[in-house]
């Protein structure tokens, strides 16, 4: 780019060592450091330090009052060998993430693709309908009303009237119902940033690409999607995947609001809930940090995996 020529006295790299050159460059671009400083300092304090410090705390026993006592890997051993609820939470999280993650991603992509060829005005309205649940804050609580456990809940009432059931189903108090319902609610609120990103990505593809594709022998819209559309919006696919994964793992609060804490028989207990349990209720900060580190590793791992999968698109 053009920045280098901007220098009042650009230096040639040949006549000095690497360290000297770097130092010169740092001094020459002083202003850039001042510009990023406020953001980077805050980011370091509230994101980098907590991640690194959690990793340290996860190796200790710490209750916020006494100084941390070093344990090495004991917390992790307890987590994976001794904590049945954590193992249950891991499997719940796994089921939840494996269904909601891909399903919400595909739904965002498919809906964005479906509405791509609509006229701009209709597209704006449809976008709003699909996007609204994810920005409306507490509105997901309506699912609690719809599936309420008494006969006044719309679902129970309707089923009773039709004679399909004889007694109300306690949806949010029954171990077999909470997980499926939470998955449905999660999908309902999941058309967020990635959805908008896909819409923009699809809009940004040049029509001539499709025309060239048609001339090259693409016969139907599925082939076009795979060979032309998706490869042209790979950057958006990547960004959307990251957004989807992050929000899938951030769904704990909604589960708590709908099913209570802990959920019945821990049926919808996820790693997030374990973290909350030990971190802000039992104050076993060392142990909770180990949970946070595991969660962190899972999220980064999921992103790496998805990156690998996405590199296969269009081949």
């Amino acid at each position: 780019m053009s920045q280098k020529t901007a220098a009042p006295k650009a230096v040639s790299r040949k006549d000095m060592t690497r360290a000297q050159w770097t130092w010169k460059e740092i001094k020459r671009n002083k202003v850039a450091y001042f510009m990023v400083a406020p953001y980077v300092i805050l980011f370091t304090i509230f994101t980098v330090v907590p991640v690194v410090f959690s990793m340290f705390l996860s190796l200790t026993e710490f209750n916020l009052l006494e100084p941390p006592r070093f344990l090495f890997l004991d917390n992790y051993i307890r987590l994976f060998l001794d904590d049945d609820i954590f193992i249950l939470a891991c499997s719940n999280t796994f089921v939840f993430a494996c269904i909601v993650g891909p399903a919400s991603y595909l739904m965002s992509l498919m809906v964005a693709w479906f509405i791509n060829e609509l006229s701009p005005r209709i597209r704006a309205v449809v976008t709003l309908i699909f996007y609204a649940p994810s920005i409306s804050g507490q509105v997901y609580l309506i699912w609690g009303t719809l599936f309420s456990g008494d006969a006044y809940g719309w679902v129970n009432g309707t089923l009773l009237k039709l004679g399909l059931i004889t007694k109300e189903i306690q949806f949010f108090e029954s171990a077999s119902w909470v997980m499926p319902l939470c998955i449905v609610v999660a999908l309902w609120t999941s058309l967020g940033t990635s959805f908008l990103s896909f819409i923009a990505g699809l809009q940004g593809i040049d029509r001539s690409m499709y025309e060239a594709g048609a001339v090259d022998g693409i016969r139907n819209r599925w082939q076009e999607l795979w060979y032309v559309t998706l490869p042209s919006m790979k950057p958006q696919l990547m960004f959307g995947a990251i957004m989807s994964i992050t929000s899938t793992f951030g769904f704990g609060g909604v589960v708590t609001a709908l099913c209570g804490f802990p959920s019945v028989d821990y049926a919808a207990h996820t790693i997030m809930h374990c973290l909350e349990d030990y971190g802000s209720q039992r104050f076993e900060v060392g142990y909770a940090s180990a949970i946070a580190v595991v969660l962190f590793a899972i999220m980064i791992g999921a992103n790496m995996l998805v990156k690998k999968i996405l590199s296969k698109v269009g081949q």
């Binding site: 907590p50 719309w154 016969r219 958006q236």
Partner: protein, 290 residues
Amino acid sequence: MAKLRTRKHKVVLNRSAGGDAGIVFMLVILGAFMFLPMLYVVMQSLKPLDELWMFPPRFYVVKPTFKNFKDLFTLMNDSWVPFSRYIFNTVFISVVGTAGHLFFASLAAYAFAKIKFPGGKFMFTTIRTSLMFHATVTSLVNFIVMSWFGWVDTYAAVIIPGFASTLGLYLMKQFMDTNVSGAVLESSRLDGASELKTFWVIAMPMVKPAWLTLIIYRFKDLWNEGASIYIHSEQLKTFNYAIQQIMAGGIKRAGASAASTVVMMMVPILVFIISQSNIIETMGSSGMKD
């Protein structure tokens, strides 16, 4: 091979009628899934008491009334802390939080996008990586950090960490990469303008969709901010929190609670309607290349 038809010198892409019908069908099904619960909230808020508690329950409202909204305002007036205080808190947090985030994130995004300096790429990659994990991971230690700073139970705990929220910086940097031309900045620098002035006078006006998007994203989060773990004093709590308290009032408040949900959701939805095209434009450059 491919069946090509031409109309008005334009290649008509192969689109089968069956495919179109299938797409419309899918859209209607998914659209109903998304829209009906939202509609039900609005219906609930307009139902009189006997329709809220009737058997069998009815989806739609027959005798719509605004009584639930009136009840909501009565409940607001009865609260222990004056309701205006909750509203002030939400407005204060939203305005200061959004302004600070917009300024600091744009300033840093400009440097990352348009100045090449040692360490810049590393810093940006690190920041970008944090998009990959949810903030819950850091919440535990954040609480400890807050208590070191003595920020527990102050506005600062809610406002200041959000200045460095990642998504805003990322979107702004990406948008500047594609939409601010180096040549224009160059000529401004050659005219003797300082880097700060170039940023503020030349670059920022060119990225209006991006900063509108940043404002909306931050505002939406702060508006929906409920009970923060850092805030104990009733006087510092938000509008959303107070509304939740009303909703927690149980059966007798079912109507007012639906009304409050409608009030809360109207604001972000209206803001999105106004700014949709700008947000979509910003998202156009959101892609991640490596």
